[in-house]
Each structure stands twice: as structure tokens, then as C-alpha cells.
Symmetry: C2
């Protein structure tokens, strides 16, 4: 997966109004659509517009909106059966990461058979590999965060085992992604902030990753620059078109970055927390990323300095060590401002003392690749220590 400087088979349409291309793109790819969307989109003008566009082209559509945050393997298996029974030959997904990741899994499992969970990557377990490609997939994000429109990942939650794992395969790239910032204008401030933190985390973690390449670093830094320029405006002036456009782009670039060099420890711990407590993804990252930077220093110092300079240009003139050491505070400051003073903590998301060991085990079972990419090596005790500091 990561041996390539560039491996990006998704075609990405980007810009205000681009949703209007959906009908034309869909028509090139199939005849009967399995339409996956977040339930809060039900009955909105966006879904009507999509359905009208498909109808105009005499394309049938089967609806599926049984999507929850941290999408569940059992629900996806149900969706796969429906998709196959209905004979759909194209999947279209609208929504946040949960809807699009569910749709990615549907497109893969419908074409390859079996059950969804088997395709997720887990240490020391049987992992099924898709050999028959996937149904073509059009992804339309309505949040600026996951970047899943530009990645080969689908994160799946197993509510029986209480952990999340990820399908990692080139076939998980959408065939076409349509990123239209106008769909993001109605996000409430807290969702804007939490998804924005996720976008930042993708750019940041891929940048500091040991597997970073000159291509992924370029993309990461541009995403961080755009995040720094626009996240506070998006939260405080939700209708600011320029800022929303920048955050939409930051999110897509964050996706491209992790597609090429993956995430590190904040995602390993954050995803594991969400699997255990159903914490929203962005919140689980906000609960640990500053602490992880603190723990990691002075490893990776040079890159932390670069990020500090982009987030807070007023540090110019300070020493390298000072700049690096300032990063956790700067992140705290930004997160506090965009979350209106609310501080995300692991205990706040329902993590109890007696579950800390289980959480650490999940990190090491399901997120080894992220752990190995982190600039400072960690053992189980380190992870437990970080989690304690985030309570």
C-alpha cells in the first residue's frame, strides 16, 4: 500500500455546485443505485436533488439510511444483503465518514462475498482480501473531516467485540468523490469543530509519520495551512463560503495525506476509544492529541516546529526547542476556542479506570501500523500512561 509515492485512483471533483455533476457521473458507472446516507439527511433538499438527478437519467435507487456514528459491521452486512438482492450495480454515499465508510464496505463486500468484519485488518487474525474489486462507488462528503473521499480505508465498529478495525485496501478508494463545500454550510459549530480537528489530525499525523514521503508531507502541510486559516471562521461564521471551501479542501488533502502515509498514535488511541465508548471520532482525537505530542517530544521536534509555525506565526524568533514545546498549548488554545471552552477528556466520554487496560490492548491489537508509524516507539506501559493523562 505505502510503497508508492503516489497511489490515488479516486477521481475527485471539488468546488461549490459540483454536486450537480452527480447524475452524469452516476450514469457512466451503473444503472441501479444503492443510495447510502446519514439518517439526518432524510427528507432534506440534498437527498431530493440527488434522487431527482438519478430519476432524470432513468436510474433506479434503493435507499439505505440505517447509519450510526462508528458504523457497525452487522448493519453493513444487512446493507450488503439488501444491495445484492436488489441487484444494485453502483453505490452512492452521502454523509460523514460513517456513511461513506459503510458504503465503501458495502461496495467491497457486495462484490466479494462473505461478511464485513472479516475484511478488517487485525493482528493475529484471519483477514479476507477482496480479489474481485468492488461495485463502483461515488462518495459525497457532507462534513469536512474524515477525508475518506480520498482514502483506501473503511473504519468498521464491532459492537459485539467493542472495538473498531479498518479495511485497508486499494479497492476502498471511491471511484469518484464529489466534494461540494455548500453541503457543509449547515454543520452545527460543534460538529464543524470536531470534524475539523479530525482533518487537522490526519494532516498532522501523516506529516509526523515515519512513513511520510515528500508527496505526503507537501499535502499535509498545505492541509495544516488551510486548517489554520479557516477553522475558527468556520465555527464562528458558519456561512463564510471562503472558509468553508478551505476546510473542505483541508479535509480532502488530509485524506490524500493519510492515504499515502497513514495516521499515528492519536488515531490509534482515538479510534480505540470510540470503539469502546462510542465517543465521536473527532472528540476522541481532541482528547489525546496534545498529550501525545507532550509525551513524544523531543522526538520528531523538527516537524513539530514546522507545525507550530503554521498554526501560530507569532512564534517567529523563538528557539527551536521553545517552538516545539509550545505545540501542545497552541493546540489546546485552538481546540478551546473552537469548542467554546469545553475540554474533551476520555473520562468525559465514559472511559472508566477499569477499562484502561482493555483500551490499551485494543490499540496494540488493531492499530499496530499506526503505532509503528509514530515518531517515538511506545510499549504497553507508555500507552497506559498516555491514556491516564487524558482522563
Amino acid at each position: 500500500m505505502f510503497e508508492y509515492l503516489v497511489n490515488l485512483p479516486a477521481k475527485i471533483l471539488f468546488g461549490y455546485g459540483k454536486l450537480s455533476s452527480l447524475g452524469e457521473e452516476a450514469q457512466r458507472l451503473g444503472k441501479k443505485v444503492f443510495l447510502v446516507y446519514d439518517p439526518f439527511l432524510f427528507g432534506t433538499p440534498v437527498i431530493s436533488a440527488v434522487k431527482d438527478a438519478l430519476k432524470e437519467r432513468r436510474m433506479a435507487a434503493v435507499d439505505f439510511d440505517d447509519i450510526s456514528p462508528n458504523p457497525r459491521h452487522s448493519v453493513i452486512d444487512k446493507a450488503v444483503r439488501r444491495c445484492v438482492e436488489e441487484g444494485c450495480d453502483l453505490v452512492v454515499a452521502l454523509g460523514g465518514g460513517s456513511a461513506i465508510d459503510s458504503a465503501k464496505a458495502v461496495a467491497v463486500v457486495a462484490a466479494n462475498g462473505g461478511s464485513t468484519w472479516d475484511y478488517t485488518e487485525r493482528e493475529n487474525a484471519f483477514v479476507a482480501r477482496p480479489s474481485k474489486g468492488k461495485l463502483p462507488l461515488i462518495a459525497v462528503p457532507t462534513t469536512a473531516g474524515t477525508g475518506t473521499e480520498a482514502t483506501p480505508y473503511a473504519v468498521i465498529n464491532n459492537t459485539e467485540l467493542h472495538f473498531k478495525a479498518t479495511i485497508i485496501n486499494e479497492v476502498c478508494f471511491p471511484t469518484i468523490s464529489i466534494v461540494d463545500p455548500s453541503l457543509m454550510a449547515t454543520m452545527p459549530p460543534r460538529l464543524t469543530a470536531l470534524t475539523g480537528i479530525d482533518a487537522f489530525a490526519h494532516a498532522f499525523e501523516s506529516y509526523i509519520n515515519r512513513n511520510a514521503t515528500p508527496f505526503s508531507e507537501m499535502v499535509s502541510l498545505e492541509a495544516i495551512r488551510l486548517f489554520a486559516e479557516s477553522i475558527e471562521t468556520c465555527v464562528k461564521t458558519p456561512n463564510d463560503k471562503v472558509a468553508r471551501g478551505k476546510m473542505a479542501l483541508a479535509s480532502t488533502l488530509g485524506g490524500i495525506a493519510i492515504a499515502h502515509s497513514s495516521t499515528t498514535l492519536p488515531h490509534a488511541i482515538g479510534q480505540s476509544l470510540s470503539g469502546l465508548t462510542d465517543a465521536p471520532h473527532g472528540g476522541s482525537i481532541a482528547a489525546c492529541i496534545q498529550e501525545i505530542v507532550r509525551w513524544t517530544l523531543p522526538c520528531g521536534k523538527e516537524k513539530f516546529v514546522k507545525v507550530t509555525e503554521m498554526l501560530e506565526p507569532s512564534v517567529a524568533g523563538r528557539s527551536i526547542d521553545e517552538k516545539a514545546a509550545l505545540l501542545p498549548e497552541i493546540l489546546d488554545g485552538i481546540f478551546t476556542r473552537i469548542l467554546f471552552g469545553k475540554r474533551e477528556t476520555m473520562s468525559g466520554y465514559g472511559l472508566t479506570e477499569d477499562k484502561i487496560d482493555l483500551l490499551a490492548d485494543t490499540v496494540l491489537t488493531c492499530y499496530m501500523m499506526d503505532c509503528k508509524g509514530h515518531p517515538k516507539m511506545q510499549d504497553r506501559a507508555d500507552i497506559v500512561g498516555i491514556i491516564r493523562a487524558c482522563m
Copy 2:
């Protein structure tokens, strides 16, 4: 083609030693290789290594090295017949832009039938469109300039009509590109300089292009930064591995940039000159790019300023207008240094007064898209004026 923010279906391997992956990649894609390479590579260790790698995997290879600069449609037609007769199912190309563009055309025409020239884009002429994809193609550049390893273009020279035209189609992206800077270490200084100028021109022209996108601009600027950091070292210290690596990356990024927002007037005029006089591609660009910047100003000023700042950081403190106006001089300075004082001119490449009108006609017939992307609109008289100033 250019409606997408990202459309980059080539997988790109990058780095010292990556040529060793060729056998494995080839084995995934086919059984019998049509091996296209520049004649100067005949008998070199690179070709032996490639043949050995294919042999180890029991893959047969048919050689084709009848490649000249500005590759000819009739020669490519001959190659297509050979490729089809031999039953090759994979094309592998090693060399500069001429070898790789020839191989792209072979891969497309072998799969779709007909003759090569018909697939090139020309105003008011029949253009054949490939409907049957192409033979899989592995491209291995040995110069740092064309970026063709990352583009949907194949430039073809028609020596009967005395002009060049381009196949522009998604199928022209290589399936896999292997960019190994160690293959570029033996380029003589003049070739390093001229191909380097071509790489810069790709980044520069895509950056100033009216069709530039936030993605292509990001890639263009990174390529310009790498060019500024490394081209003089590559010319003066040919074995400097770091500098060669940077120029190899600049070239690939330049390719990615023009794949997304294309070139402008310097390529329109430069390509036309090469079609008429067989001038080397980089030289034909070096003969006109500064003059075109002079003619274009003050249009596109903001972007010229950014390029000036990257090429010559010592301009900090000057006014916007001064910085923009300095760009032609700065380019002159760099080109003079890397070409050891030799100045490229159109008359030096054999353009005579009586051919200026014909050259202008070719620009307007074959390169309309590039002309339209240029930040300042131009008529026939403008183009004639620019050409005269470049004699």
C-alpha cells in the same frame, strides 16, 4: 480532463534503487513485454538489469529502440505493428520523454487500432478517441524533465507535416511509473540543464494557467521550490545524490501539475518550434519563456511575484511590481548559469524569418488549449511579435 481537482490514475514508485521493483510490477501486468528505450541506452547496465529481471520471471521481451528526439508518428506506427505481431501484452519504456511518449502511443494504438497521428488533438480535424483502454504500461524516466511519467499526454511529431501534436487522454497515464534518480546521474550537464528547464516550465506554466486549481498550484510551487534548490548543483556536481533526487521529484511533480492544469504559451510556442526545426524540447522552451513573461506582465503579476520569491529569496523587501518585473532577468540568470553562458534563441535552432508565419499558424492550430490557458489573451500578431523577439 480538467474538471477534476485530482485525477491521477498512475501509480508512482519513487526513490533510489526503485528500478529493482520493475520485475515484480511487470509480472503483475503481463507476460510478454514490448520494451521501448532510447538508443543511447543500448548495451548499458540499465537495460541488462531490466532484461535480467524480466528473464528471472520467465517473461519474454521484444526490443524497440528506434527512438529519436521529438518522436515520429511513422516510427510509432511501425512499433505498433511489431508489438501486435509479436503478441506483446505489456509495454515497458525506459528513457527520456521521447521514449516514454512513443511507448504511450504504442500502448494506446496497439489496443485500439488505426494510426498514431489520428489520435493527436488538432483543431478542425478528425481526432480518433481510444475506446478500448491501452496495453498496461510501465514508464521509467532517465531524465528529470518531461514529467511524462505522471501525465495523460503523448507528444507526437509529424515529420511530413512538420508539426507536433499531442494525444491527450486519460489512457495515456502510465499504469506504473518508476522514478529512480540513480538513472539520471549520468546525464551530461547540458541535458541536465535543458530537461531541468522543461521541468521548471511545467511547474511554472501550470501555476500561472487559468485552469490552475488549489491542488495543481500546491504541486507546482513545490516543484519550483525543488528546482530552485537543486538545478545548479545537478549541473555543476552531477553526482550529488540529494540534488538529483530533488530534481527527479521536481520533474514528477511538474508532470502531476500539468496533468491537472496543463501548460501555457511557452509550451505552445516551444513545441511548435521543435516540430518545425527539431530543436530539443527544453531548448525551445528556454528560447522563449523569459520573453513571454515580459510580454505577459502586468497580467498574472501576483503569481509571477510568488515565483520570483521562490527563485530569488533576496528580493524580499522589494515592491510587488519590482518583484514581478525582475522575473525575466532572474530566469535569464539561472538559464545562463546552467547553460554555461550559451543563450538559446529561435534563430540558433534554425528558425528563419520566412518560417515565422508558419510557426505562428502551428501554435494556433495545435496548441489552442495552451494558448487559452495563458493568463494574457493573445492574437496572431502577438504570437508573431513574441517569436520575433526570441530570434
